[in-house]
Point group: C2
Chain length 346, copies 2
């Protein structure tokens, strides 16, 4: 049994873990392990927003970002996904990951100009980037074989870790929790730069990407996931999207991942921005929508036991104020972190 916190990030605690040292989780889970030399990772979300069929400008923009994502100076890993938001807009989001800030910076400056530098007919574009110190970040995987998201750029997976399967495990897996309550500071502010709108959020903003992969499931398990678990998950995702603000969820996207050939894969993820890790904890632990998700997942897993083929993972970051970048061009005013600031007039 390993700690989710790698040895080189262990510090003298001023804050305790939520479980005793002899805690034994009831089932195995795993975390991504970066090379010890990696002190920071980058997760960059590039969105294109439109209504109805894919406009020509969107196709061109996606082709451009494809070329840049595939470049040898590009990210170590990326994926692309899609969802229809609360305003009925289609959103196509490419997520790219780096473990080298200098490489990212060099790649990002010209890419940003392409993406949000000038408006295009009929589409909006946005960029949401975190570049957290690894001590501000954690992952969790239900099985070790198939990394997703930021874990795809890690050195590999851990063995079974201790800090999971209890409320508070998420916090306990973040190395900074050893010494810091990660309290949010201030309110998000809107900065106008011509047509570009930037959101300057605040210390300890929280991002979660929480995914599921049902591609390995067969007949009865697949039916159980799609008929019983997925509708409850979707209901929770819709709640966060539509009514999350009152409980500290600035924005939520329930994304369906594309295959490499552009078709829909059997993978999805929820991606949400939160005022604080504490707000995310409260929703997960107590809100009826997530209690239902948790109950459905518990029932699913206790029905199937170790034979379950559904794969679950998440990644959570609590970012310092200077580790964040949000920029929107020609997007509707409830897009991403724009929803966290005063509505923007025409």
């Amino acid at each position: 049994m390993e700690s989710a916190i790698p040895p080189h990030l262990e510090t003298k605690r001023s804050r305790h873990k939520r479980v005793p040292d002899d805690y034994q989780p009831p089932y195995p889970s795993f975390v991504a392990r970066y090379k010890p030399g990696v002190d920071r990772v980058v997760m960059a979300y590039f969105g294109v927003q439109y209504r109805g069929a894919l406009p020509a400008a969107a196709t061109e923009t996606l082709a451009e970002i494809d070329r840049r994502l595939a470049a040898t100076v590009g990210p170590s890993h990326w994926d692309r996904a899609h969802y229809v938001d609360q305003s009925g807009h289609e959103n196509n989001v490419s997520v790219a990951y780096w473990d080298d800030i200098a490489r990212f910076d060099a790649w990002f400056a010209p890419t940003r100009e392409v993406w949000t530098g000038s408006a295009r007919e009929g589409i909006g574009t946005f960029i949401e980037v975190l570049r957290p110190a690894v001590a501000r970040h954690e992952t969790l995987f239900s099985s070790p074989g198939r990394p997703e998201g930021v874990a795809a750029i890690a050195d590999g997976m851990s063995g079974e870790v201790q800090e999971h399967a209890y409320w508070g495990g998420m916090r306990d897996r973040i190395p900074l929790s050893q010494t810091d309550a990660m309290t949010p500071g201030g309110d998000p502010k809107l900065v106008r730069d011509g047509a570009r709108l930037r959101v300057v959020a605040h210390d300890n903003l929280c991002l979660i990407r929480s995914g599921q992969d049902w591609s390995d499931t067969e007949a009865s398990e697949r039916k159980l996931y799609l008929d019983v678990v997925e509708p409850v998950l979707r209901e929770g995702m819709d709640f966060l999207r539509d009514d999350g603000l009152a409980i500290g969820c600035y924005a939520n996207r329930y994304m369906r991942v594309f295959r490499a050939d552009g078709g829909a894969s059997e993978k999805s993820y929820g991606q949400s921005w939160w005022r604080s890790l504490a707000a995310l904890e409260r929703w997960a632990e107590s809100h009826p929508t997530h209690v239902k998700i948790f109950g459905a997942a518990m029932k699913y897993l206790s029905t199937l036991g170790p034979s379950a083929k559904l794969r679950l993972y998440h990644e959570v970051t609590v970012a310092a104020a200077d580790e964040q970048f949000f920029e929107y061009l020609n997007c509707h005013p409830r897009t991403g972190m724009l929803a966290a600031v005063e509505p923007v007039g025409a």
Copy 2:
């Protein structure tokens, strides 16, 4: 909004609360407030055990304890309840409360001799006592008007408290949690004293009494409680009774409270002995049986909202080794804390 920890028990923390200082619970709850001069309370469980119809010896024994409980030197409050245990034995348990150790000690010595001093035909008897420092104890009530259990001897109820409606609130309400992880020490041991069997447990043994009162509910709410919530609660209680040991629950009793006239009231409580507060936390938060209870309660409360007439309360103690007393005479070997030690031969 008050802290559940009264001002005179606030200490400089070496351990943090689980929620930020600006946490706002989503609904009100209340705690018992003792007079500041009360530094210790006593909760004493007197059980009589038999099979089938009430034997004459049981009637006599209950009459004797009734006389002692009603004496002017007796407890400040007591109640009586009944359940059928996993061996099919009837158990009639009187629970008495004091806030004055000297008075309790004077009353207890002769009462103990009556209760477990000599065996009676066809019945077993047992005594389970905690006498915790108030810093090792917490209560929680869904409404302030009708104290139950130990709260009946308190000075009154608090206003709305902050530390509830999140996992970890129970721990955060116990004043000792400000500085102590309340880790259990050692294993329970059996001590034979002739026919009397005593269990010497260990530091930080945990007791919960968790009750529900549906006497104020009307038609549809009553039906919802009895048809939907109660069966799920019973299932969880049965699990703890039959299979709790593996997860740190030494014993569980799902009791139906008697009215003063001896009939069954519309009140029940679960009373269980745990290896540690942490073990109780893990069951409550993660075990499918309690996740179901929690889900049913959440659904119930979100259906009814503030109009709910069901009353819920609990009291939790984490006792030091020298605050405990367990004594059994002629009881079956799975009675109470006997279940936590090696089976006792004939």
